[in-house]
Each structure stands twice: as C-alpha cells, then as structure tokens.
C-alpha cells in the first residue's frame, strides 16, 4: 500500500479507526490502573484515549459554541474536560470512548436508512442506445433528447420515460410501481425509466430523460416527504429548545447544592435529548422509504401520523373497487329493435365524456351484428376502436348533459333522452311496467341501467357492467380485520350499490351521490369523529380526496395531478396496497410512540439513578448511547415492514 491509498483508507474509515484506537488505549490505561503500580502511566494513557477519541468531538463542540448552539458534543466535551480537571481520568476516557462508539454506530445505521432510496435511483442505467441519423449509437442516458427513439433490448433496463413505438414486451415496473408482476407493453403504451424490459426488443420515443423522469420525480418527492417535519417532531424540537438549557441549569444547581462535580457532569451527559430527537425522524424516514420501494408515495410525516389514526376507509366505486372498464352487458328494446336502441343512445352520447356514454358508443361502434332483444352485446374494453373497423355514429344536432342523471340530445328532428329514473321522473316520462321490471332485474345483479327515450316514449334500456376487481373483497376483509370501517361511495342507484356492496362485503354504502355529495358524505363522517381515508383515482375524485383526512390516489404513476392532490399515492393500480399503506401508517405511529416512550423512560431512570448516586458518569453515557441505538434500530424495523 502506498501512502496515497493509506491516506484514502484513513479518510474513509477515520471514525472507525478513532473509535478503535481510543478503545484500545482506554482498555490499556484501565488495565494498567487496575494493576495499580503505574498510576502516572495509566493516567497518561487514559488522557491520551480521551484526546484521540475526543479530538473530533471537541472540534465540533468548538463550532457549536462558535455558532451559539448547544449540542450534545459540547456537553460531552465539557464532561470529559471536567473529569480530567478533577482527576477522574478513567471516567473521561470512558465517556469519550462510549460516545464516539455510539456516534459511529448511529451514523452507520442511519446511513442504511438513508440508503433506502439510493437503490431506487441506481435502477436507472447510465447509457442509452438511440437511433441517430439512421444509425444506432450509445449515448449517456441524460443526453437523450425528447422525441428521440431509444432501443431497449430484452433484459435491459429502460433508460428514459417514453412511449412504445415498435415491438412488444413484458416490463417489470417494480422500481416505479412496486408491482413485480410484469406488465405487457405494446405500441402506444407508456414505459418508465428504471423499469426492466424482460422479453422482446422495444423502441421507445422519449418523453423524458435525466432528472425529468417519473422515477426521479418520485425519489425527489419521497425525499421532500422524509424531510418534512411531522407534528411530533416539531413538538419535540420546540421542547428540546427549553430542555437543553434546563439540563444545564439543573447541573449547575446540583453542583451548587452538592459541590459534587462528577454528579453535575453526569447530569449533563444523561440529560442530552438524544433518543428523543432521533426517534421520530428515524421511524418516519424508514416508513416512507419502505413505502416508496413498494410503490406507495407518502407525502410526509404529518400525513403518515394522521394516516396512523384512520378508522374509516371510503372507496369510490367506479375504477377503485371495480376495474373501471364499463362495458355494455345487455341491450333491451321495447317496441323497438335493440340495434336501433343502441344506435340512438350512441348518437345522444357521442359528445359526452361520461364513462357510461363511452361504453355505449364503443358497443355501437364495434357491434359485430344486430343485437337481438336481451342478447349480449359486449364491448370488449381493451379493443382499440382506432384499430378495429369502427362503425361511424352520426353526430347529434345538439346535446346537453344533466350532471349525474343523463343526457338530452336532438337528432333528425327527434328528441333523445338517455338517463336514469331521476331524469325521466323530472321530465314526466312514464316508465312502462315491463321496462321497470327489466331494469330492476339487471340492477339487482349490480349493473347500471339507462333508459332510452325517443320523443317522450321509453323504447329501450341498456345495462352496463363494470367488473369488480378480484382483489376487492379480500382488501375490504383485511381492513375490517384491522378494525377499520369500510364504506363505498357511488353515483349509482340504491339497488346497484346494494348489489355491489354485498358482493364486496363492505360495511356500508352511500348511493346516488353526485360528485359534490361525496365530499359532503366525507365531511359528515369526519364530523362524527372518524378519521377518514378516501380512496379514488385522484382526478375525478380530487375534491373528496382533499376533503378526507387522508386522500389516497390509485394508479398515480403517470398522472402528476393525482400525486399532487393526494396525501398518499399508489403508483400501481393495485388495490392490495391499501391495507399495506394503512397498516404501515399505524405501525409507524406506534413506532414513534415506542421511541418517545423509551427515550423518556431512559432519561427518567437515569436521572433518578444519578440523583441517588447509583449511576456514574460512564454508566450514564453507556445507557444513554444504548438508548439512542435502540431507538434507531427500532425505527429501522419499519424498513422491513
């Protein structure tokens, strides 16, 4: 080893070396003193141990004093110096050694916590293969420009955010969404930097590179969340401002009364609020880091602490408990052909952006043959209308949306109304008994039915179905097992809601809600004293997410608005993360309590021990450092939750 590498080695392991040397000197000095014939030599070695171990501490203490802060290092330096002055060399060396060892271990473990995010960032490859001037060229991933085509071979990590333009593959999106099951990607699909292309070769048109990628934004937000102070942290910080001067006053007071220097120095050391101030941040950083790796973005300690108190989870029905892929299940004509009913409904809904309207339009466009009465016309949700030969549906002459009720349109001199019972009642349109029976029967299966009215006469009905997510019943059960009430909110009518609620096994449901009603319902639950989490897609439900104590947005990976408005965002469209996120928050809240409790208990016991002379300076330092380490290790358990 040349001097250069020795120097480098020393720089890297300086703290460990200092601790080791100081420890060895301490042990040597202590043994000599034990043999007792080499008093001066023993004292000299112990002082040396204190100086080696304490040099860095004293240096920081000097800076602390210079910048008029009073930190633990100042207190430790004072204690060690004081012990030397009064001739307690053994105590001085012990205090310094134990503190240095404790700091070293604490720094090391905290580094592990801080590293949780590094792993995520390391997922992004440094280089990308781009197509420039018709040739493939390897460039730095940061330099890829928007719009450039990047080629990703099987087994490679995707270097940029972009849209697939060529090829088909399965992509493991775990770094972004936390979901390890590969997702199928083909032409037009979005892919994220840092995810892994597992099967085929892909060509991707870049939409973001370097720091402008979804993964980078997630990591940045996670860091901001970890840095934001939680209410408990700010409380403790405020408390510490008075506490530390208080400890010094106590120590001076103790000296004045007892004239015992060691006692007052011991008070200084054990009085440091170490475990108390370190506990909550470690718990929160660990929990947020763990959540990030599982594809759950938590906005910060404040939200996390509040989420720990959740006792009611409200789910939006469509797109949350269900897949959000509404498709026509059945078309019924009454004194009219089913095909005409669908056609007419499609014309009326053509300009609507409602998901029911989309389903009708889709069914009308890729209707393979005439739909027979009561026959199934399933519009396959994942068929792309642009790819299949779409039938053209004429435009309506005019068109009005009645929010939460339906649409009214005119076409070819006729008035078409497509809507629910409320809309028909409002317009005094009589619903024939056979139509009523049909509607009731479909609704009892959990399907949403609209009536089609031509010039004031009901000519048919269309039943639509939005499949339940397979995970929904299990997720509801899991929350119930954790003692959390579950509620479903929906715009559907009572009968549909009841049918779906029963299928999911949810505790309660609220039906026929307009978007603003959902907000009111959540407000109501909060007034009843519940701590309410609302789960939705984060776009349509943004107002209710904001009203809830904790707004949880699902499938947020590509949508910045959802991430912005929600308190927690699930990157994947995966309902199963909800119980995980809620129970992790609860575990975090407990963890913080445990840490604060442990810290307070330790300081109280030490204080009692010192005042009754059971606890010496060195023992006080040992217990103090042990309590700090215990608190960090306890907080780190959340990394493996």
């Amino acid at each position: 080893m040349d001097t250069q590498s020795v120097k480098q080695y020393y720089r890297k392991h300086r703290q460990a070396i200092i601790v080791a040397v100081s420890g060895l000197l301490y042990a040597g000095g202590w043994s000599l003193g034990y043999i007792s014939t080499f008093d001066t030599a023993s004292a000299a070695i112990l002082i040396l141990a204190a100086i080696v171990g304490g040099y860095d501490i004293a240096k920081t203490a000097y800076h602390e004093i210079k910048s008029r802060t009073l930190g633990i290092k100042t207190l430790v330096t004072l204690a060690a110096a004081g012990a030397i002055v009064i001739g307690s060399y053994w105590e001085a060396a012990a205090v310094v050694f134990l503190f240095a060892l404790g700091s070293y271990l604490e720094g090391r473990t905290m580094r592990k916590t801080r590293n949780a995010l590094e792993e995520l960032l390391e997922m992004t490859p440094d280089t990308a293969t781009v197509r420039r001037d018709g040739k493939q060229k390897e460039v730095s991933a940061r330099e890829v420009e928007e719009g450039e085509i990047v080629i990703v071979k099987p087994g490679e990590k995707i270097p940029v955010d972009g849209d697939v333009v060529e090829g088909e593959s399965a992509v493991n999106q775990a770094p972004v969404t936390g979901e390890s099951a590969p997702v199928h990607k083909a032409n037009g699909d979005e892919v994220y930097a840092g995810t892994i292309n597992q099967e085929g070769s892909l060509e991707v048109r870049t939409t973001g590179s370097g720091t402008d990628t979804t993964l980078q934004r997630i990591v940045q937000r996670v860091e901001e969340a970890q840095e934001a102070q939680s209410p408990t942290e700010s409380l403790i910080d405020r408390f510490a401002k008075y506490y530390t001067p208080g400890v010094i006053a106590l120590s001076i007071g103790a000296y004045v009364v007892t004239q015992n220097a060691i006692l007052s120095l011991t008070l200084l050391v054990i009085g440091c609020p170490g475990a108390l101030v370190i506990g909550p941040p470690v718990s929160i950083v660990s929990a947020i880091g763990n959540a990030a790796r599982s594809g759950v973005l938590m906005k910060g300690g404040e939200h996390l602490e509040r989420a720990g108190k959740i006792d009611l989870v409200a789910f939006d029905k469509t797109g949350t408990l269900t897949k959000g892929e509404t498709a026509v299940a059945d078309v019924a004509g009454f004194d009219a052909k089913a095909g005409d009913v669908l056609e007419l409904a499609a014309i009326a809904e053509k300009k609507s952006e409602h998901h029911l309207g989309d389903a009708i339009l889709e069914a009308a466009q890729d209707r393979p043959a005439a739909v027979t009465d009561g026959g199934a016309a399933t519009g396959q949700a994942d068929t792309n209308p642009a790819l299949t030969e779409a039938r053209s549906v004429p435009n309506p002459d005019d068109f009005d949306v009645v929010a939460g009720k339906g649409v009214i349109a005119h076409h070819d001199g006729r008035e078409i109304v497509v809507g629910n019972r409320k809309l028909l009642d409002e317009r005094d349109i009589k619903i024939p008994e056979e139509v009523g029976d049909y509607v009731r029967e479909r609704e009892e299966r959990g399907e949403t039915v609209v009536h089609i009215v031509r010039d004031g006469v009901v000519i048919g009905a269309i039943a639509m179905r939005d499949e339940l997510r397979e995970a929904a019943p299990g997720v509801v059960q899991e929350l119930q097992d954790a003692g959390i009430e579950t509620v479903m909110l929906t715009g559907d009518n009572e009968r549909v809601a009841a049918a779906v609620a029963e299928e999911v096994g949810i505790d309660d449901y609220r039906a026929e809600l307009l978007p603003e009603d959902k907000q009111a319902v959540i407000e109501e639950y909060r007034k009843d004293g519940h701590v309410v989490a609302m789960v939705g897609d984060g776009i349509n439900d943004a107002p209710s997410l904001a009203t809830a104590d904790v707004g949880i947005a699902m499938g947020a990976a590509g949508t910045d608005t959802a991430i912005e408005t929600a308190d927690m965002a699930l990157m994947a469209d995966d309902l199963k993360r909800i119980p995980y996120a809620v129970t992790l928050s609860k575990a975090t809240r407990w963890n913080i309590y445990e840490n604060v409790g442990l810290a307070v208990l330790t300081v109280s016991l030490l204080l009692a021990g010192v005042l009754t002379s059971y606890v010496t300076l060195a023992l006080g330092m040992l217990v103090h450092e042990a309590s700090v380490l215990a608190v960090i290790l306890n907080g780190m358990r959340l990394l493996r939750y």
Binding site: D56, E64, S67, G71, M110, Q226, E227, D237, V285
Partner: protein
C-alpha cells in the same frame, strides 16, 4: 448570479449535528440559503457564485467532522 448546489452527508449522527453544519455553511461569504436535512442527509446550498467558491463547502463540512459526497 445565484447558483444552487447539492451535497450529501451520510454520517450525521444526530439532528443537532445537521443544524451545526447548516450554521457553519450559512456563515460563509456569499452563501444565501442553506438547508441541511438530518433525515436524508441532503445538503442544499444557494450561493452567489461571484463571491462564494463551492469547493469550500465540502471543506467546511469536513471541518465539522462529517464526510460530504456528491448528491
């Protein structure tokens, strides 16, 4: 011109250590704003590049007994 740079300190062992580093950096000439986060070890420094030399930031952190590394 105002510039911003980031560093990372992974070996903070207590929240008050982070505050001490924050003060030391803030006391340097040309430094306009400093944020040091104990939780993540992130150090963000906003400075006037006509006055402050970013190379001295790392030295300052080292003087306080911590190891800076690039963010």
């Amino acid at each position: 011109m105002s510039e911003t740079t980031q560093l990372r300190v992974m070996d903070f062992d207590c929240p008050s250590c982070a505050s001490t580093v924050e003060r030391a950096l803030a006391n340097q000439d040309g430094v306009e704003n400093v944020e040091v986060h104990y939780a993540t070890g992130r150090v963000e420094i906003e400075y006037d590049d006509n006055v402050a030399d970013p190379a001295t930031f790392e030295q300052t952190i080292e003087n306080q007994g911590y190891t800076p590394q690039p963010a």
